[in-house]
Amino acid sequence: MTQLTELGVAAIRDGVAAGSFTAVEVAEAFNVNVAAASALNAFIVATPEKAIEAAKATDARRAKGEALGLMGGVPIGMKDLFATKGVQTTAASHILEHFVPEYESTVSQNLWDAGAGMLGKLNLDQFAMGSSNETSYFGNVISPWRRKDGGNAALAPGGSSGGSSTAVSARLAPAATGTDTGGSIRQPAAFTGISGIKPTYGRCSRWGIVAFASSLDQAGPMARDVRDCAIMLEAMAGFDPKDATSLDMAVPHWEAGLNPDMKGKRVGVPREYRMDGMDADVAASWDQGIAWLEDAGAEIVEVSLPHTKYALPAYYIIAPAEASSNLARYDGVRYGLRDLPDGAGLQDMYAATRAAGFGAEVKRRILIGTYVLSAGFYDAYYTQAQKVRTLISRDFAQAFEQCDVILAPTAPTAAFGLGEKSDDPLAMYLNDVFAVPASLAGLPAMSVPAGLNREGLPLGLQIIGRPFDEQGVLNAGLALEVRAGFVARPEKWW
């Protein structure tokens, strides 16, 4: 009998539809893996009963001969940044601990409507602020991967979607939702040898997603391969009148459009991404990726993105500025934690609640954001950053006059050890150097696993596309996937 937890989204959906196994059998198998993996700390809460309930509904629909939906019978992990009705939604923070939404986010509802079920809520960096999943109030997520040096050093699963990357990589879920503000889908996917795509800004509704930086936040799928990402993205995306920036465009049938043939396509290689002192294995994997896409029939062209080095500093003004505004809502009045010291007035209550409820990285970003938006500094920091953002976006528009997609590494290194960068905020921020520019420009971008480095850890390759061209990104990702033949997986130790 097939080991059901070895199957991805397409195989589960097709197997359930064909009657090879039931959706309930699939949900039970993944529930067992989730329950046995507490050492990874990927889930903040498991919801095995939700997975079974959705699976029973799928099996009942099949018995009646009804259509099962794009994700019919597929249980998934839900990043704990999506509001789920009746299920605690924390953003991995103390301030939202015990918050139980009265409503369902649009993206999660779309997934349930497509026949998916929920295995649980996945751990993440607090309010999605982090690149290693070390800022969660509920503890670090541990990557299932280990270096092949025989040591047992605990490695970062990437962040902020570290619970999602760990769950998919360790076969606790065939797929999971992620959100990407400055690389939070792509970098964790690269660190754990899985695939993930951030669509064009506006494809997936932000309604019901705990807000970090609203002009950047985008949801997307994380799964084992490109096809599974295409299926799940199609289920997640769609116009939503409740999100003012939602794109009022039809959702393409990305899975049906998958095609790894790159004949007639031009692939841009940005020269500014080849930085001094670049990790040799990352550089080699990028060269390999170029050769693979050439082999797929693409023409390789060098392109220039001259403002690349300014993307990260611009991001670390814009994202904290928006965060400081968005997180003003946590005041101890309407929901979440309240800390009311004896005899305290309203202002003291706000300050005490926020001091107790936010972690160190969240406070750091709120303070930076408050500073750069404050009177006298607004133009020098915030307006300047928004102008640089215009230039970064223009760089991409000019590059896309010469190419159809851009190929780059996803991250400058493979996974680092937990604790290695957590004392140095800047070193941590620099890990998103290749991911942030596409976020600032709102472009679709994907990471696919390319191979292992000399330590036996996965490296990802990133494809960046034109606005609305998720299909082009997925197709180039598929061309890489076919040639990479990536089958490495973490050896089970948990």
Partner: protein, 100 residues
Amino acid sequence: MSVDTATVAKIAALARIKVSEAELAAMVPELNGILAWVEQLGEVDVSGVEPMTAVIPNHLRLRADVIDADPLTGGGRRDAVLANAPVAMDGFFGVPKVIE
């Protein structure tokens, strides 16, 4: 530009986050490190460049001028709105007394 302890204390007050003296002392060099790094943006020639306001061109929509057009985000949901309040009293959010 760099910040000193007094400035960080003021920012924290603006952000409504209580910070201890020890936290302040730790934050000053951290924030200065980040601010010194973002200052490189000053090198960029942005003459004639408009600040970005929308990353993907889009137009703002108006919803139909109908009461409760979307029942989920319309009115009449007091109990749901109050369900997660730390203190809900008589159909309102409860807060410490603000008038002497």
